[in-house]
């Protein structure tokens, strides 16, 4: 899934881009309103994050413009001045959500996931995902909700997590090498080093495994990669 981020502060922009990338989204960055509109037309993202105070066209103007072309694409406002959000959240501009500074990573992630859930429900979303829930061992995975359940316990998943689990589910029993996993979940050809992947798997295990030290769902295949037994 492709996300367009428009934010004039460089650090915030790069920080958000990194968070989103970790979540498993493809990001397109714009530094001002004009760029944002141009990139929106060019790249047709699946949803948009707009900073309100930007030089040139403000987030509101960009939102209006985008809405004119695509009334359904989800738009989230990033704002430092909270009082303006009230207006916005009215049907007036048709934004879906907002996030106010200062925000933490967790907040961003929670909002993004919420938006993603809505996106996944839409037919024209590009995600190459199967949305029907499936099981991996005793874990029930619900891709459309970005969640997994074990018993009554609810586990939040990122998009990438879902992609990885989806891959494991489809190649149940098979050992997957890192390249395959990488290209499926990261979407790139070149795996710089295995560290990123291994770290992610490690963190995923922490979330979904009963005992992360002794993983039952995702098992390591030395020299090759990983495998899910089912």
């Amino acid at each position: 899934m492709k996300v367009l981020i428009a934010e004039d502060d460089r650090h915030t922009l790069e920080g958000l881009a990194e968070i989103l990338a970790r979540e498993g989204y493809e990001t397109v960055a714009a530094r001002n309103g004009k760029e944002a509109l141009a990139l929106f037309h060019l790249q047709s993202p699946d949803f948009v994050c707009l900073d309100i105070m930007m030089p040139g066209a403000s987030g509101y103007d960009v939102c209006r413009e985008i809405r004119r072309r695509d009334p359904s694409v989800p738009i989230m406002f990033i704002s430092a001045k909270s009082e303006e959000i009230d207006k916005v959240l009215g049907l007036e501009l048709g934004a879906d959500d907002f996030i106010t500074k200062p925000f933490g990573v967790k907040e961003v992630v929670a909002r993004i996931r919420a938006v993603t859930r809505r996106c996944l429900a839409q037919p024209k979303a590009r995600h190459h995902l199967q949305l029907t829930p499936f099981r991996l061992a005793d874990l029930e995975v619900i891709p459309s909700e970005l969640r997994a359940r074990r018993g009554g316990q609810c586990i939040e998943l990122s998009l990438r997590d879902v992609k990885i689990l989806d891959l494991f589910h489809r190649s149940k029993g098979k050992a997957l090498d890192r390249h395959t996993i990488f290209s499926h979940a990261w979407g790139g050809d070149h795996l710089p080093n295995s560290r990123t992947l291994d770290q992610h798997i490690s963190q995923l295990r922490k979330r979904i495994e009963v005992d992360p030290k002794n993983p039952r769902i995702i098992s390591t295949v030395h020299g090759v990669g990983y495998r899910c037994e089912g």
Partner: protein, 526 residues
Amino acid sequence: MKRPLAMALALVALLPLAGLGWMGARLAASEQQRFQQRVQALLETRLNDTKGRIQEFLQAHERQFQRQIQDLGALDAPTLRDLARNDALIRQVFVLDPQGRVLQPPLDGPLTAAETDFLSRARDILAGKDLLYQGMREGASSDSQARDDSGWFTWYGGRGLNIIYWQRNASGQTIGLEVDRVRLLAEVIGILPDTSGEAADASQGRIRLQDERGTTLYQWGPYEPEEGQAPAAALALPQPFSSWKIACLVPASALQAGPSLRIQLAAGLVAAGCALIALVIYLAREYSREMREAGQRLSFVNQVSHELKTPLTNIRMYAELLEDSLQDEGEEQRRKLGVIVSESRRLSRLIENVLAFSKDRQKRLTLRRRQACADDVIRSAIEQFRPGMEAKGIEIQFDGEAALPFEFDPDSLEQILGNLFSNVEKYAGAGKLLRVDSRQQDGWTTIRVSDRGPGIPRGQTEKVFSPFHRLSDRLTEGVAGTGIGLTIARSLARLHGGDLTLLPAEQGASFELRLPIPRTEDSAAP
């Protein structure tokens, strides 16, 4: 500026002005009155001069009449007729016996036409001798000593005023001279002033000699009065003209108190008015400057807070990103990173507080309600404070029974909890306990935050909620704090329609936060 204040200022300016104006008008009026009286007195003096002249004239004639009567000698018809014929002023001479009967002109002899005319005119007067005698006694002469044996007598009949000068002789006979009114008037005109044609000062006015009907007989003076103008002063004339008068008319401008007084008053009023208006303007400007500056201060505060938010966001965000990346790395690095993160969060909270406080001052504090789960927020807040609490050895207990989502502002709840927890951390650390309970019941979500610290002294249970209020320095010595935390927390609670109150407790402090659960169509009762 607010309307009531503007009106008050306007009143401050206008009321004294009105008062001054009224007083000034009264002063001018009374000044005018006095001036008019002075002018009138002046005019009356002038009229008195004229009256004096006329009096002298009449007295001279009286003396002449007396001489003429004395010189008569025999009181027979030819002598008397001669006198009447030759004297320009005397029309007719008559003689009455002591009983008032007419001796001359001789009623039994041939009468001239003039004598017949006179007798018919004077018939009533001569017949009613009581009237005649009474009138004669009343008609004082122009001489200051009212004499009993001579004088003027006037009556109206025929063509107007009839004038007689009479004198009683030693034998008790009354000798009367009928004086030609027209001739007498012409002679009076002769001795009265004329009017120079040169452009004279109109304020000199005009003096009119007026008869009994107010008709002008003669007038002099450079001023031409308006139609129907009333005289400024008038004097009655002495006998035989007592029904006539001399009146003085002056232009209205002469009766006006000098412009100098009015100008002074007007100038004074204008000056006072200017001073008042200047004062009001100064006050208004000072006030709006105050307001503007206060606004500027507030908006500066806002601005600063907003400016701080972006770098703060970045610090926190990057610290957290780093935290995630370093998940498997060294404890020490993770710990240090944890400090950065928690401190940046604390900074965030402080900024939020200040911002909320300044907005609250401006009455611009608002909520952004949405469907959320109170317990989630409590948990998240507890997690944020856990490192700090653990470092101080404060145990955290949480009993959450408010898992049902409802509509409220989670950020506000987080802020309230943050303030309460931070207070516990700052002031109640000795109690080693932070307990949080949450309930949902009867349409309310109730969250209780309790500690076992020193608690709040009896007299300060309300004061703690006041801004900038800090408990006695003994307690809080050495501890930082802005004094606005509880103020904000309560404002936010009340904005929701709920409240934040201090519960009585034997030990420690126990705050209760109540948030209403708004009724919607599809909300299920808890």
